[in-house]
Symmetry: C2
Subunit: 272 residues, 2 copies
């Protein structure tokens, strides 16, 4: 099975693929998140795995925009602990490093470590790309911050593991597919809606969930791209759209919303 | 008056300072958002201006975290249209450019232009820093994507204005201060709360706003950092906490919430 992800070999997204599917798959690296949605839509990949939120960086709005624009369904979620590692060319040592390349977010998350080491942080497009880059150059004074797996992929040495300041850093990924998933136990459902232009619209839209005992696990408003002063609401809830109480709640939602799009139902994974 | 911002001279945050306060101020460039909140808290700056959300990148979660951690108040908001410009050393031309430095988000927003130009995009910590960097090196084949003002600040030439793919790109900034603002007309209020552990908690927390005719303009859940499976809700609403209907709604909120923190009331600015 082919699973598309955004980034280069060794990206955190690729590691999320293996965590979710096991190693029996072909992980397909693509340049952008648009490319991933496109590949799944046109069938060049069976599934795609995309980041949807991070403890520190928050919601990946681009993924939400693409879920709205494409007719794909979320069929799974997986949480990936982000453990940053300092990788360098073989034969060098921590003391010789003077320049460290990585994605600006990774640099920020490892700032205390980098300051203490007294090195110059240099931004790169992504973490795995930074690993490839320092290998190509081969300088003993250069290092990259990336996933541990990049050491093996690019022939680098692990100088130090877990250099991030806050250990609870995690990214939630979702798996997208052209096909719905059949109902199972312990399911979560994601959807997006736009309220009708009526007073207390959001409150009314949420009423069905409250009175039917449906737990909401995420709510987020996003400005409507074309209609000013209107909002899209992204909702995650516990249960399957075919569960009687969820079904009831969504019917009530449709009465107060001008637009409802189901984004998928999938087994719930507890954040580590 | 001293106003702290994150970034270097010519950063979009600095431009937001002048848009909001006029030119009669000392804009204080600081390294991080933490530094900005710290400077306002300890009095080394009267105010701070910080990004809170962007059309494409979404919410700046770091700013929300800092609003929660510090005892500062939002006293204003301003929307800054992000118009990216290609800047280069004087005497060069568009045809000679082969490398373009900027923040990865700016590079992404200008991707179509860069591909058409056939240049290599190179990531940099921030847009203004990239402008300073290419000036220091002085190469005719290097350019930076930054705010137009960086041309004058760093002695560069404007090669092309508005090179971003989507014209509606804007960032909302908020102004923070140690002091509350007195009530005025056309006010917005921001607050954060944690629901009590009761069924339909969010719905109950929003009830007071619905029944008192208080319009919500933003809602966003964020996972609680220490208590798993609990959420913080950030809310923007129309009106002042001293308005009778808002007061009533917040009293009702306090009944169903285990924690409420007022983040400030400030004149509403319509997004351009």
């Amino acid at each position: 099975m082919k699973v598309a992800f955004q980034g280069e070999r060794g990206a955190y997204s690729e590691m999320a693929c293996y965590d979710f599917f096991g190693s029996e798959l072909v992980a397909l690296p693509l340049h952008t998140l648009d490319n991933v949605f496109q590949a799944v839509s046109d069938g060049s990949a069976e599934m795609g795995i995309v980041p949807i939120e991070n403890t520190y960086a928050g919601t990946v709005t681009k993924t939400y925009d693409l879920l709205l624009a494409h007719d794909l369904f979320i069929v799974g979620e997986t949480h990936q602990r982000i453990v940053h590692c300092l990788l360098a060319n073989p034969g060098t040592s921590l003391e010789r490093i003077s320049r460290v390349y990585s994605h600006p977010q990774a640099i920020e998350q490892c700032e205390s470590f980098l300051i203490e080491l007294g090195v110059e942080p240099l931004p790169f497009r992504d973490t795995a790309g930074a690993a490839r880059f320092i290998k190509e150059r081969g300088y003993a004074e250069e290092a990259a911050i990336a996933h541990e797996a990049c050491a093996q992929i690019y022939g680098l040495e692990l100088l130090k593991k877990s250099i991030e300041t806050n250990a609870e850093n995690a990214t939630r990924f979702v798996v997208v597919s052209r096909k719905h998933l059949k109902a199972t136990e312990d399911v979560k459902t994601s959807l997006v809606f736009v309220t009708k232009h009526i007073p207390a619209a959001l409150y009314k839209c949420l009423g069905g969930f409250a009175t039917n005992g449906v737990n909401l696990t995420k709510i987020e408003s996003r400005p409507h791209k074309t209609e000013k002063s209107r909002y899209l609401f992204y909702l995650d809830l516990e249960g399957h759209p075919e569960d009687p109480n969820v079904k009831e709640a969504i019917e009530e939602l449709r009465f107060f919303a001008s637009f409802v799009k189901m984004l998928g139902a999938y087994p719930k994974e507890t954040s580590q």
